[in-house]
Structure formats: C-alpha cells, structure tokens
Symmetry: D3
C-alpha cells in the first residue's frame, strides 16, 4: 500500500479541490459557514483536541464516511492514539447501533492508512 494510492489520499485531494471550488462560488453565507465550521474546533471552554473527538463521534452516528475520515485525521494529528479512537468509535456504535458497523469497518481501514503514514500510533508511549 503506497502512500499515494490509498483512497484516503484521493479523498484529501478531491476534498481540497472541491472546497476551493465552493469558495470560488463566492456565496457569502456559504463562506461564513465554512469559516464558522473551522473555528468550532479551536480551543474554547473545551480544548480543540477534545472537540475533534466530538466531531468524530458526531460524524460516525450521522454515518458520513467523508466526515469520519476528516475527523480521524484531525484526531490523529491532535495526538489521540488508535486505542482511543476505537474507544470513541465504540461509543458511536453503541449509540447509533449496528447500522454504524459499516462505518466502523471504513474507519478501521482509514486508521490503517494513517498508521502507514506515521500519523497515528496504537498506544500512548
């Protein structure tokens, strides 16, 4: 599995390309929501790290693979280990039920890509 050929890399490129096109639409409301969305995960009463984990679980119970992939990467970069992300995904699976299982399968594959890329470690050192 090369870094370049996995679906996570494809997702990042496509996501970035299409977000640029959305900005080019020059719709003020759309732009403001994108800006507000980014700011949501900055430090506040809760740390940005904790809020990334909340974003992951929200994405998982709402069953959006693209959102799961995005937040898994953000969580990995924020320092969460694979064990912690699996524990968070388990909360999503219990709250959301077996309909979340296909997204658990997707998330486990994404976490493998993140491990290969060196962005995610299994346990706290």
């Amino acid at each position: 599995m090369s870094k370049k050929t996995n679906r996570l890399e494809d997702f990042r490129e496509k996501r970035s390309e299409m977000n640029d096109k959305i900005m080019d639409l020059d719709h003020l409301g759309v732009k403001r929501f994108f800006n507000l969305d980014s700011n949501t995960y900055r430090d506040g009463a809760l740390t940005g790290e904790t809020k990334e984990l909340l974003g992951l679980v929200a994405s998982a119970v709402l069953r959006c693979n693209d959102c799961i992939d995005y937040h898994l990467e953000q969580c990995a970069k924020a320092g969460f280990t694979k064990d912690e992300l699996v524990d968070a995904m388990n909360v999503a699976m219990i709250v959301g039920g077996s309909i979340v299982i296909p997204h658990m399968r997707h998330a486990v594959e994404t976490m493998e890509f993140l491990e290969v890329e060196g962005l995610l470690t299994v346990e706290k050192e």
Copy 2:
C-alpha cells in the same frame, strides 16, 4: 422552580420506572444490550468522563431530548462545567445544523435545572 416539580425530575422518575419494566420483560438480548450500554461509559482507552461528553454530542446530533437530558446530568456529575457543556453542544449544532437549535433550547433549560440542584457549576473554580 422547585426541585421536585421540574420536568427533569419527572423524566428521571419515568425513565427509572420504565427501565425497570423493560428488565421485567426478561428478554435476554434486551438485557444484554442495556448492560453493554452502561459499560460503554466506563473508563477504557478514554476516560468515562470523556465518553459521557461523546454520548452527549451523539445524542444531540441524533436529536433525542431524553438522551440529551440523561447525558447532561452524567456530564455534570463527571465534573464538566456549564461552559464546557455549551461548547460541546455548539459542536453538535455546527455538525447537525439549525435543526439542532430546538434541542439546544431544551438543553439550556435542563442545564438550568441542574444548576438549581447544585449538580452543575458555570465555570471551573
């Protein structure tokens, strides 16, 4: 607003009464799921406290007031402040959209009840 007459107190009593009746159904699968659900929020790779917060956000984006009330109380007991719970609910509102706003209104009222009961403080001391 007396402690006894608020809707949160009614919810707790009804919830407890009906959960007992569900156990009395004596359905093995149902009992095992209830048990598994409780265990989900125990310490694991993530702390039980963090997982209560994940449960709150999952409940909010899935728009279930009873689940929001239950997790708000668990989060308050776990030591989260009102400022932190509002910050978590904000993540849910951004991920889930304006359709979550009526549940934000509900949550703010529930947090008031929890403050009156002394279970929730606004800021870290």
Copy 3:
C-alpha cells in the same frame, strides 16, 4: 389506569380527527399517498400481518412514537403476542442503537395499555 384516560386513547382520537382534516384539504397527491399507505399493509407476497411487524420496526428505527403506537396496535390486532413484539423491538434497538431506548420505554408503556384493553396477550395460548 382507566381505558379512557390513557395517552393511547388521546392519540387515537387526535389522530383520527387530524386525518379527517387532512382529507378535507382535498389535495389529490396527499389523498393518493394516504390511500397507498393503507394498501401497503394488505396481503401480498407477504401477509398483511408480517407487513405490520415490518412497519413497527421501520417506525422504531426511525424513532417516531406516534407511528410506533399505531403499528403496535395493528400488530396486536393481527395476533402478535407481547413476547413477539418485544422481540421485534429488540431488532430495532440493535439496528438503531441506544438512541432507540427511549422509544423502547414508550413502546413498553403502550403495550401495557393494549394489555389492559384486552388487545394484547403476553404469550401464545
């Protein structure tokens, strides 16, 4: 608990009154959908009884208490026992997750009303 004062009886009256008002709107598309909806639960490749049970589980995972109440009554009239309806609701809870639990509580109360009314028996005789 008198037959007349339970919330199930209130639901039936309100549902019937409002459905009449919907028919009075005289919107052809609305009328045709209501008609099609009723016909869905008639005998076909599957029996009408089986399809009522499918309607119950669909209502439960989509988390609509009014729909759950309606289909629980139809299922009871179709001859399903309480044990069978609990087993069906358990499938809904496993597929839909803990977010379905408040609706399980609601359904258990509705089944109690149906038992008091003599419409539902616990086990096959």
Copy 4:
C-alpha cells in the same frame, strides 16, 4: 380556541425566552451561528420568501415540529396561502415517506391556528 391558549402561542413564548437565554450564554460560536441562520432567509439569488418555503420542507423531512411551526408562520407572513403550504408539505411527505404523516397532522393544526390569527389565507385572492 382563543389566540392566547393555543400551543402555537406557547411555542412562540418559550422559543423567544429560551433564545434569549442562549444569547446570554455569550458563546461566540453559538451567537455567530444564530446570526448566520437568520441571514440565510434574506433575499439573495433566491427571494427570502422562496427560502422560507425551502426551510419548511427541510424541517418537515427532518421531522422537527418546532422548526415546522416556525417556518409555517414565516411562510404565512411571506404571503404563501394554505393551499401552497399544503402543496409544499406534500413534497416533503413524498420524499420523506409515511413517517412524515404525524408531522403533516401537526402542520395542519398549526395552519388552523394561523388562520384563526388572520396570518394565513386559504387561497390567493
């Protein structure tokens, strides 16, 4: 049915009271989202009127009675007739299925309240 005692009037008061409390939380992200939400329904490439109708249908397929009530009133004030709102709700019911029917019943009652208040007329004059 007096103007003051219907559930729509109760909803308006509660909604206004709780929105004020949400503003009092003084959470910048929450405030910005509320502001952005209001601005969404202003004239843009589409008229504000058309966007209120879009908000109604979005609320109906997502099955939120509070949101339906709010948008029905905004649509009535924007000049849509009852016949037009029923036609919009019919689109929501076909897209969202019979699970939307309880919300159709709710909407029909709300439209009655709006008629009594003189905010909604049945047909274009």
Copy 5:
C-alpha cells in the same frame, strides 16, 4: 471532460436501467408510488419548478447524492441558474449542518457537468 465519461452520465444510464427493472417487478404498490412520485412535481398550488427546488433541498438535508443529482438536473431544466441552486443548497447546509458539506462538494461537481452540457447557466440573462 467529455459528456459521455462523467459520473453524471453513468448515473443517468444506471438509474434508467434499474428503474425499468423495478417496473418489471410488476409490484402494484411499487408502481403506484413511482407514479405518485412523478406526479408530485407537476404544477399544483405551487408551480412544478418551485417543487423541483423543494425536492432538491429535501434531498440535500436527507443527504442522498443520487437524489441531489436528479433534482439538480430537473431544476436546471426548469430554468434555475447556478446562483439560485447554490442559494438553495446553502439553505440545506444551514438547516442540516456541516454533515451536508460533502454533499455540497458533490453538488458543485454535478453543476459543473450540467454547465458543460449546456443545461445550466450561472446567472439570469
């Protein structure tokens, strides 16, 4: 990007092929619902054009890319400009939250295909 090789063209062919197979199932209820669905978007109290826009927003908040693609094309054929469709999608994104963003990305790409095909113009002439 040739007309024939984009994913929108593939979607149209597959959709048409599978809809034919669904008709071949010869299930009366299924056939009647497909017929009722088509008729929903004909002129009524609201114009067919307006109802296509309602169908688009309903599809977007329910997060179904196939439905979004279908309604974007119908809306383009009904005369809506790209600016208007973006304004409608923005309502869906605000109501449905950031979980709708991946579908906004999908919709923007679909609108590009429709522009290339000459079915969609950016602004009113």
Copy 6:
C-alpha cells in the same frame, strides 16, 4: 456477469476482511456488540427468518446499502422469495419515502446477483 466479478462478491470479501480486523482490535465492548448483533437474529419469540426480514426493512429505511446487501442474502438463505423481498422493500419505501428509491434500485441489482448465484428464487415452488 460472472459470480466472482460482481460487486456483491467484492462486498462479501471486504466485509469479512474488515470484520476480522475489527476483532483484532481486541476492544471488549466492540466484540460484545458484534456478538450480541449476531445473536439478535437467532430464533426467539419470533423465528430467526422473520427477524432477518425485520433487519432488511430497518436497513432500508435507514438507507444503508451494505446492510441491505447483507440482510438480502440472509433473507434469501432463510427461504424468502424475490417476490416476498420486493414486498418487504415496498413497505420500507412507503415508510421511508422516495429517498429510499435509490436503495430500491441497489436492492434490485443485488437480488439479481443472488438469483444468478442460485441463492434466490422468484416465487414459492
């Protein structure tokens, strides 16, 4: 269409591979939920066969193609005919609305694969 090259076969292989990886995560809660999920479809007050059909309809209204594929195969193995599965999918489509239609198209294709494999017959012999 060869048995090996259809998307259903790909799905089975990927599903099996990823489920193994999920077990390898060695998360007790995840393992217990997977076990509980499997046991849900065993004979109880309802037969396992009936519960597979309930699982299919739950998957369809929640709009998960992977879950639909899994339950269609289980239902076929349990002895349901294509006519019966179409009748069940029709209930899902009426309850869930036109947003379920893309999943009806998917299910019809999956049933074709199951027919080619000899797992599904059209009518009761």
